[in-house]
Amino acid sequence: MTTLDTPQDLAATQVRVNDFAVKLANVNGTGSASANGLLMRAIFRMGIPVSGKNLFPSNIQGLPTWYEIRVNGSGWTARALDYDLMVAMNAQTYAADVTEVRSGGYVLYDSTWPLDAALARDDVTFLGVPLTQMCVEAFERPKERLLLKNICYAGVLVALLDIDIDVVATLVDETFAKNERLRESNQRALRMGYDYAREHLSCPLPFHLSAMDATRDSILIDGNTATALGCLYAGATVAAWYPITPSTSVMDNFTSLCRTHRRQAVHRPDGEIDYRNDYLIVQAEDELAALGMVLGANWNGARAFTATSGPGISLMNELLGFGYYTEIPAVLIDVQRTGPSTGMPTRTQQGDILACAYASHGDTKHLLLFPANPAECFDFAVRAFDLAERFQTPVIVLTDLDIGMNDWVVPSLTWDDAYLPDRGRVLTSADLDVMAEFHRFADEDADFVTPRTFPGEDSRGAYFVRGSGHDKYGGYTEIPDKYQEVVDRLALKHAAAAGHMPGPVVERRDRARIGVITVGSCDLAVREAAELLDATGLPVDVMRIRSFPFQAEVREFMAAHETCFVIEQNRDAQLRSLLVLETGVDQSKLKSVLVYGGFPLSAKHVVDGIRNSLGG
């Protein structure tokens, strides 16, 4: 068997425009991420729906890392599982990578070294480009040779996939606008790859791109950036956090946004310019401290939040129960990763649903929001602050690594300048003037919320926050009836919040008797699966849950279908358990499709899961 350096049509390949998937296998820490991101952004700028999934290790340099680009003119950009083209740039994983290409697909490899004959497949086409050799000849410094190899293969892909070279060149110019030397070398590497491919390979491949106009009103953004923007626009002034993958970039982004939008230059008397910051971000000593700070700041009337992941939620449990029982607002962003324990920090999962719903000892229940994409991260971050203050309780926004750290094409974010924060029931001195007496947990409204006061306002509003047993006047109690009166109201308050939280998104089809229920980042894959199932004669209705506690529509959806599949990314069917526990639905009605290996969900998982369960 020989390796092939020229393209051959080994399988009859139909021409497919704007519908393919490319997987790039790299070594992490070698600069591949920026080259891969560049390609994805260029496709987005060509107006074509695209996604990029970074499947990276918990490591700084040397381990295998993959990047998947899926292009789909119809907008189905969940993870693909069969790849038309594998860019095999990591010798450590060649063997496995080559097997992942679909029959009739292509492998691009660095032909500076001959490919091991044992890797060859006769149903795929191998495209060799001597990338290392080209970069060694073109560039002087070892580091430059290594980094620019990535841009060089990007150039090859530009030719193979018919990516607009001008768009890519513009992106390179923008990226290195402040460094002419890098700009020049990157442009040179890009052209080198591009020209080589045009000269030696038959370009474009049967699957390739053609410019569209489907992303004009869209942006390319990751969920953590969008969440940080939401916190900025919600008026958060205090943030406390402890660094943890994959949530770190929430606070990194919030910090840089604050530096731009919350910093005022102040001219000092001595002529020097100083700054006034309308924010305060504390990198705490641990997650316990982070939530303690958030509760302290909210108690004092600031909008404050923290961002964390599963291990942080575990540490915050005690204070989550405290916040619930003492009725102090708090916003937590949980960017879920794979558990249990340390788990796989750079892999995605939806494994914190139950841990968050009932976090802490004793009878506790929290308000949860489940955004499905970065656009909802922005929206839900703002709503989280309103809900936390209106219901005086912690609100947890559960995103995940797929949403938080990958770039998604979503509609441009919009802002209503008429928005004003919902501070909930807060009494001022003027309110206290006309009251006989203030009691912290008395005088509930229709949503079972009682008014609070801020420290520093008025002595008549002073009360004593305590996590110990208390009566509706805020006083210490160990008397059963008085204790129960308060915790019973808390249960009613939790239930009442459902009506103020985002309800499920339901997508119905004619003749559907089966329901599919899902949550968060599963959204796109599940909706694509519903299309595929419909096309093969199995119409299903889809409901995506967006918050907890559940609304009446959630119960109604389950009641209206004889079988519901619950699609989620954890081993123990946590969403299904929560539905059974909280709605009393007949659990035999709910079947699970569970994908929890750590990589984002694909429509194929869902179709196969449902088909298998139904017996083919």
Partner: protein, 349 residues
Amino acid sequence: MPSIAKPLVPLQHLQRNDLGLTVRDYEGAPSTLCGGCGHDSVTAALIEALFKLGIPPHKIAKLSGIGCSSKTPAYFVRGAHGFNSVHGRMATIATGANAANRELTYVGISGDGDSLSIGLGHLAHAIRRNINMLYVIENNGVYGLTKGQFSASADINSKSKKGEPNLLPPIDPIVMALSLGATFVARAFSGDKDRLIPILQAGLSHKGFALIDVISPCIQFNDHEGSTKSYLFTRQHEVTATDFVPPREEIVAAVPDEGAISVTMHDGTAMRFRAVPEGYDPTDRQAVARFVEDHRARGEVVTGLLYADDTVADLHDLNKTPAAALASVTYDRLCPGSDALVKLQASFR
């Protein structure tokens, strides 16, 4: 001490402070601690100190963790908001509260279990951040509410009520705080109200983290022979390092200027030390640490305002926050608005 509420109408003429308030306005609910508990003396001294400084009750925020000491914020300044948090986490709540509103006077009350075991990490980091607050450790060397276990401040070979010796070395909050860059460090004895009140006043006036370790004997579980946190032991082994004139208090003519050391407080007032031992300098961190360690090695308990530096940046200085409370910044100043959102999204194209 279990007691009944005092009558609202004072039986005698009470002195009024600058706000026209009496000491009664700084009192709280009746204590439910044991009769003779050192913590009640600390509460009484704190009431006196807050009254003397004339801080408006509603501008005080009282915080605590869990334990006997942490119950006490209920027993002073009923007109102040109080926050009885969870075990060991008071410093974190205070940090967040202070971040949101720098205009209040923060009074944190903790114990040796709360601060030196479960909450040690938080205490250490609050010191590093120089949170502007008074942080009192009511230190009795024992877990009272769970009936007599040793705490991390118990000295080696000090005896429990049942006669068992403590085998582990103690954590001395004074020495630890000095090593962490604390800007105000003092130790007092709950049985010596005359010295405790001015130290509390000084701590309340300090800009930054004021740590006061108060030896406050547990009458039930750690006031016996063999204890090194008992009333008797403390009286017999106390070495008062410093005596000083609290800030904002008139310096009486009897105090000689010669040899006195003066520390300028943030508000410009001077705090003058007197009766300082030969060579003692309350601004020399290393020397103070050595002095405390030397005496500890001899089994002595050093009390007094041991170290003070009012010139160090606090959390807000470091973060360049506005002079007024962050929580009071109006929303229109916080939200960049729709135009800015359109503009900044250009970078997401």
